[in-house]
Each structure stands twice: as C-alpha cells, then as structure tokens.
Amino acid sequence: MLRFILRRALLAIPSLFGLLVLTFFMIRVVPADPAAALAGENATPAQVAEIRKQYGFDRPLHEQFVVYLGQVARFEFGESAYSRRPVALDIKQRLPATLELTVSALLIATLLGIPLGTVAAVYHNRWPDTLLRVLSVAGVAVAAFWFAIELQLLFAMDLGWFPLRGRMSSGLSAPPTATGFLLLDSLIAGRLDVFRDALHHLVLPAMTLSLGGIATIARFTRAGVLDTLQKDFVLYERAQGFPSRALIWQFVLKNSVVAAITQIGLLFGSLIAGAVVVETIFDWPGIGFYTVQAILTADYKVMLAVTLLIGVIYAAVNILVDLVHGLIDPRLREQL
C-alpha cells in the first residue's frame, strides 16, 4: 500500500508542474506588460518600473520562471491591493470558511444523493426513476448564482426563516479561533448559541452549493446500483429469500458506490470553484468572496494565488480519490 501511495503521489508531480507553468504563462506572457498588470491601474511609471525590477520582468523567461518557483515555494504572493495585506495571510484566514461551506455541501450532496440514486435504481424505469432522471439533469442546469438569489428571496426576505447573508450574526462575539471552522470552534469554546447561529447561516449557501452535487452523486449511484443488481450474487441471495431491503442497503450499495466515490472526490474540486459564486451572493467571508473582490479591483496577485491553491487542492483530491479506490479494491493497486 505504501508503494501505491508513493507511486500515485509521484504521478501528480507533472500535473502540479504543469499548473505552475500555466500560471506563470498567465501572468508573464498573456498581459502585454505584466508589471503594469501587477501594479494596478493607478500606478505611476516609477512604481511600474520598480515592480518590473522586483519581479525580474527584465530578465530572460527561464530565469524568471526559476524566480517564480522560488516565490511560490516560499508562499510569496505579494500584497493584495484590495485588503492591503499579504495575500498568503488573507488566504490562510479565509480558507477555513470556504472549506466549512464546501464540506457541508458535499455532506448534504452525499447524504441525499446516494439514497436518491439507490431508490431510482430500485424503481428502475418507473416514475421515481423518471422523476429523478429529470431532476438530476435539472439540478446541473440551474445557474447557482440565480438559485442562490431565489432562495434568498423566498427563505430570507419573504419568509424570514434563514439569515440573508454572512457567516454569523453581528450581535454575537466570535469564539476564539482554534480551527477556523466556526462550527468546530464554537463547540470547542462551548458556545452553543454561536454554533446554532453558524449552522443557521450555513443552510442556504450549503444548499445552493450542494444542488449540482446531489444530482451528480444520485446519477452515478443509480448507474452503479443498476449494474450491481444484475450480478449473480444478488440473484443468489434473492433466491435464498434474503429480505430485499437489507440486500439492497447492505450488500448492493456497498458494491456500487465506487463510481460515486470518484464523483464525490471530483465534485470537491468543482464545489470549491462554485463557492466563488455562492460566497459572493451570501457575503460568505471565504476564498471565493475574496476572489471576486480581487477580480473587481483587478488584483492580479490574488487571482494567481487562488488559481494555484485551487489547482493544488484539485490535484490532492484526485490523489485521495485514487487512494480510497486502492483501499476499497486491492486490484487497482497493481495497475499503477
């Protein structure tokens, strides 16, 4: 297993290197004058010249790339024009909020998607199946930013069931930061009022973000369960008079979720990307909200750091998915 982990991690190196090359080209080659792009719109020619020297834009490309690698390795992304603080520090403080949101959305998507997909497979080609098929296509067809606004309209503005925006009510004092995850921090500090409030704030954004995930997981679970239902062991157990319900929820499901697990992993990447939109609408103080502010203020350093960060998370999640597969199915360990 250790060999498998090592070999899989080695395979990620080319794609991480590619990510570095891509971001390097984005910042050094695509803009006509990268120094001017970095300096921002209101920079004086002297400031632009200083940035050009500081970042070494006057040197040959391959030398610049080596310098760039050094900067990335030391997490030196410069100062954000929007917050006037080091980008690395901003990201470190905001990442937990985004992770809290995406993990919650993933949890909702998994807890709803797997049972829905299973039910659809069991009622194959009958109305629950057709309904789910249409719903799952609809789930990925909804523009998340629009859905978020409609949820706000209905549940926050009209009915007043949930808070409109933010992560916590302004009247409450935040618990001491231990993990950065508000839900965990409030539990650690024993502040149930904050916990309840944070959970309340989480509902609408997490629901919005999970929508596409529910649809995807349900689809793959359905396909997996349908496949397993045709296996000989299912026929055998049925012939033995094994109760159908237990058979499906215990044995069939366990044999069917491999494809769904891959999707859960891949979804994590797209959920982090989707968080950009959802955080903007709910004023959620995470990476996504930060990214959009950076875009609006043409803060290129932030965009660069965020692209790198999300690329790394994406690669890490892909490795993790393969490792989980290796754990479930030992045959896969041999293939690598």
């Binding site: 080319p14 794609s15 991480l16 590619g18 990510l19 090359v21 891509l22 984005m26 695509v30 803009p31 792009a37 080609n125 057709t130 098929r133 249409v134 296509v137 609809a138 990925v140 067809a141 909804v142 523009a143 998340a144 930013f145 629009w146 859905f147 606004i149 409609e150 706000q152 309209l153 503005m157 009209d158 396909a223 349908l226 496949d227 990447g269 797209s270 982090i272 990307a273 989707g274 950009v276 939109v277 903007t280 990214t291 959009v292 875009i295 609006l296 043409a298 290129y300 965009m303 660069l304 965020v306 692209t307 999300i310 690329g311 994406y314 690669a315």
Partner: protein, 279 residues
C-alpha cells in the same frame, strides 16, 4: 430509422430537442418576437420596476425596459456565445486529440501534457483568471471560455483515437500506404465523432451557464446588452420588491441549459450502446 425511433421513445430527450429548437427559433426571430425590440438600449424611467402585467408579462427592470423582450433578445447572445465557444473549441481540440492519440513522439506528448495542464484547474476558475486579464467584454469572455473548453474535446478524441488505432482496419490502411492525414480525418475522425457530438451538446448548455456567471460577475456582456447573467446581477439591488427582475432571466438560463442537457443525455444513450442496458 431505428435510431430515430429509439430517440422518439425517449421522452426527456425529445423534450430537450423541443426546448432547444424553441430557443433557437426565438434567437433567430428575436427582433420580431420581442414586443419592445427597442428596449435593448432604450429606457423608460416612467415605468420602471413594474410588476408583471398583460403589457409586460415579465415586468419591467430598473430602467423601465420590458423584461420579456430582453429575455427574448438575450437568447441570441447566449446562443452566439455557446456556438462560438463550442465550435472553436472543437476546431482546436479535435485535431489536437487526433494527432496526440495517433502519433508518438515529443510533439504528441507535448500536446497531451498541455491539455492536462489546462485540465488541472477547474474550468470556471481558469476562465475567471483569463477573463480578468482582458478588458471585460463579450469577446473576452468567449476567448476565455474557448481557451478553457478545448481540452475536453482533446481528451475525448485522444481516448477514442488510441482505441481505434489498434483496430485491424487501420493496420490495413497503413499497409496500403494511406497517409496519416487520410487515416486520421477520413477514417478515425468519423468513427469518434459521436462522443464529440454528445460532448458538444452538453457543452452548449454548460457554456451558457459559465458565460452567465461571467456576465453576472461583470466579466462578460456589458450594459446595456440584454444578457441574462448581467440582468440577474443588476436585479440584486432591487430585491425583494422586484422579484420578477431576477426570476425570469434565471428561468431562461435554466430552461435553455436544461434543454441542451436533456438532448445531450438522450444522444449519449443512443450513441453509447453500453449504456442502453441500464435504461
């Protein structure tokens, strides 16, 4: 004919086709169908933010423009983006996939590495980063979307080409001295076109969705374009009073994307016989 019959039986797919056709027709005849075609740029401050009525079925927006007309006129922009982005991505991605899959050597290897490089970041993030580099306009958004969408076609065609390359008929063609270009474009390409069509159909819906996000974030269409994403972004200041302002453009996005996705799903089931069993 068998294929057509099979398709006709698949109700969600037929529904998708109907929706797509309606959207296409609406886009083509937008200026005739829209009751107030002048509302692309005109403003009527006297009737701003009016609730839906017989005169304005979807209400009016913050400048008094008829939202029904603007939703209809917006179909043209949305479809143009989708066709341009998916079309150009195909023109770039498909030949690269053919070359990457058929030939060996550093050229083909480089193509595939570059493809993987683009796939290493979620498309939305990459498109945002690229769009930010350019001045915000519809053209920039299209360029950013194309730059991030072609690798999907390269990957699909690469996989199909690799599979077909091992087929006996390709060996036979090589033996009789057919040129690489002839084998690739006359023999391999027609055999891997169906997954490309499926991907393109779903890609149309997907592109409309991402383009709407770009418009919403202010990196796509610019005012006063009747863009759906842009309209939703403008509507946020007027909520909750003007609920119709955000609701109808959003429904237009939803229905259009839903149509393409249902159609793409139906096509995939027909094209990929391995999936038929599970239906």
């Amino acid at each position: 004919m068998l294929v057509l019959k099979k398709f006709a039986k698949d109700k969600p797919a037929v529904l998708g086709l109907v929706v797509v056709l309606v959207v296409v027709l609406v886009a083509v005849f937008a200026s005739y169908l829209a009751p107030y075609p002048g509302d692309v740029s005109a403003s009527h401050l006297l009737r701003r933010l009016k609730a839906p009525s017989w005169a304005h079925p979807f209400g009016t927006d913050n400048l008094g423009r008829d939202i029904f007309s603007r939703v209809i006129l917006g179909a043209r922009g949305a479809l143009t983006i989708a066709v341009m982005v998916v079309g150009t991505s195909m023109l770039i991605g498909v030949p690269l996939g053919l070359i990457g899959g058929y030939y060996q050597g550093w050229g083909a290897e480089t193509i595939m590495r570059v493809t993987d490089m683009f796939l290493a970041v979620p498309q939305l993030i990459l498109a945002l980063a690229l769009a930010q580099l350019m001045t915000p306009s519809l053209e920039s958004a299209m360029l950013a979307l194309t730059l991030t969408y072609w690798p999907f076609f390269t990957r699909i065609v690469y996989a199909e080409t690799r599979r077909l390359k091992a087929a006996l008929f390709i060996d036979a063609l090589q033996c009789i001295g057919a040129s690489g270009a002839r084998i690739l474009f006359l023999h391999i390409l027609p055999n891997c076109i169906s997954p490309v069509i499926v991907r393109a159909t779903i890609g149309m819906g997907f592109t409309i969705l991402v383009a709407a996000v770009l418009g919403f974030l202010g990196m796509g269409a610019t005012p006063p374009d009747p863009d759906w994403g842009l309209a939703i972004s403008e509507s946020r200041q007027y909520l909750p009073e003007a609920w119709w302002f955000s609701t109808f453009p959003g429904l237009a996005i939803f229905l259009t994307v839903l149509g393409f996705n249902l159609l793409g799903d139906g096509l995939r089931d027909i094209v990929d016989p391995r999936l038929r069993r599970s239906r």
